[in-house]
Amino acid sequence: MQFFKLVARNALRHKLRTGLTVLGLVIAVLSFGLLQTVVGAWYAGANAAAPDRLVTRNAISLVFPMPLHYREKIRAVPGVKRVGAANWFGGIYQDPKKFFPQFAVDAAQYFDMYPEYRFAGDEKRAFLRDRRGAVVGRKLADTYGFRVGDTLPLRGTIFPGDWSFTVRAIYDGAEARTDTSQMFFHWDYLNETMKRRVPRRADQVGVFVVQIADPARSAEISQAVDAQFRNSSAETLTETEKAFQLGFVAMTEAIVVGIRVVSFVVVFIILAVMANTMAMTSRERLAEYATLKALGFAPGYVAALVFGESLAIAAAGGLLGVACTFPVAAWFSTQTGTLFPVLEVSPTTVALQLACAIAVGVAAAVLPGRRAARVRIVEGLRALG
């Protein structure tokens, strides 16, 4: 008990110094947690991918479409349960800064393949009945105040002209990691409009989402799908939904790596600050450590006092930092709108934050603890006089 009493009272001896060190730790742990959460958001799509979903796209690039008639050929491949066409719409709502993902989808098929999108009451049926209807996710609806029945105007970029939709349904996610920042509307509506406006671009599909009966056969089925279109004008590349999403992450990998590096640099900076604090503390208390050793306390006890104090400060900073991460991440999520569809502080991030705080506490005490343990009693006592 005396040991813990000494540790606690030593830690609170210089309240301002300890307070500032804890504050620094809180900021570092919070920053680390936020940056890790942002990195996690980058992978949200891949993490939310289902193993029974494949994505077929033009083998050259996503930019190039595929003919609509591929849909039936893909559906005919053994092991395929459902196929749905989807196109990235890329329209502008009011202002280009108000970005959110919009997809034209084979509605009837599509939502059966995504059971994680949950609809209330008859809303889904209402959407399916209205060819100009749209579905928006809960986060998107909350961000821009969309309600069922509202008109949602978009200015086309990839598909030119003004487009108008009626919000018929708002979906929720089955899990916290489900992306609810998207908008969906009928692919048929897009195609019919394009037939009128730019006929040569009609019957063209961006990607086919393919649901398979047995996820273990995904590689085999992917090859079978692609084999159908080999040597055609639009060869395909089929991959799992997760691989497809990770392809997007890979395009921005440098940014992800940068954020990761910065998050660890923040931890390293606080380590230097904390080590300096502990070194100062240890130097000031050499006479006390020498006295304890003179009284018969072992060098290990003296080192443990330094480690205990460092860990106590680090743990306080770590716990407060973790506690602050949740509200700050929630605030950050509202401020960034739909930029990060899923900004969730994961248990892994919390564990990493605490591990970093403890590692900082231990590392900062290594040299001061060693010095305190090794101080010669005679020299330590002289440090006082």
């Binding site: 005396q2 009272r9 009284l295 018969g296 306390f297 009693i377």
Partner: protein, 235 residues
């Protein structure tokens, strides 16, 4: 005849300064009998504190043997020495060396945490020690709330609470006013006379030295017996 509590034999000690060995103690041999109150005097830099440190086991000689109660402490490892100090020696320092974050009670209790005594037994020992030094009513005070003399009395209580045979005191009155110094010396005297503690005290203070039963002078690394306090240069 009873064996002396301290038997120092052919002690050599030097320090390295600027790459050169500076001899401090040169072939010292002496005994301190059980129940003695020995005053160590001498000019500054004569090696008084060095000798005291060697007797207390917080420093080691370059050569020679120091037997305390039959144990040659020069042959003990660091951890054995720590254990030995915890049970055999009580320390009184010039600047008290109390833990500022612990109360008087907790400071006195500190050495007892190294013993197998129960919490209740520890409390009784601490209370008795603080009563003995006249600070029973200041148990919950922190060192910063006590005067210099009171802090030194707490330090004396800490030194005697484990009931060691030997108490070493390095300039115990060096930082105190005359009144407080007299109280501290009276306490040391009481420990020696009433409780039979063997005390070795380094001091510059002639009044303090007068309390000792025997005086040894240390000068240029050599020890001599002292009779006339007033004929010696102490600075």
């Amino acid at each position: 005849m009873t064996r002396a509590l301290i038997e120092a034999r052919n002690i050599f000690k030097s320090y390295r300064r600027g790459g050169q060995a500076v001899p401090v103690l040169h072939d010292l041999s002496f005994d301190v009998q059980r129940g003695d109150f020995l005053g160590l005097m001498g000019p500054s830099g004569s090696g008084k504190s060095t000798l005291l440190n060697l007797l207390a086991g917080i420093d080691k000689p370059d050569a020679g043997a120091i037997l305390v109660d039959g144990v040659d402490i020069t042959q003990l490892s660091e951890s054995e020495l720590a254990d030995w100090r915890a049970g055999a020696v009580g320390f009184v320092f010039q600047f008290y060396n109390l833990m500022p974050v612990l109360t008087a009670f907790e400071n006195v209790e500190l050495p007892l945490t190294l013993t197998p005594l129960s919490r209740r037994a520890r409390r009784e020992h601490v209370a008795a020690a603080l009563r003995l030094v006249g600070l029973a009513d200041r148990m919950e005070h922190y060192p910063s709330e006590l005067s210099g003399g009171q802090q030194q009395r707490v330090a004396i209580a800490r030194a005697l609470v484990t009931d060691p045979k030997l108490i070493v005191a390095d300039e115990p009155t060096g930082d105190l006013d005359r009144q407080s110094a007299a109280e501290v010396l009276a306490l040391l005297d009481q420990l020696n006379v009433q409780f039979g503690k063997t005390i070795v005290m380094v001091t510059h203070d002639r009044r303090a030295a007068e309390r000792a039963h025997a005086i040894k002078y240390l000068d240029k690394g050599e020890l001599s017996e002292g009779e006339d306090l007033h004929e010696r240069s102490l600075y």
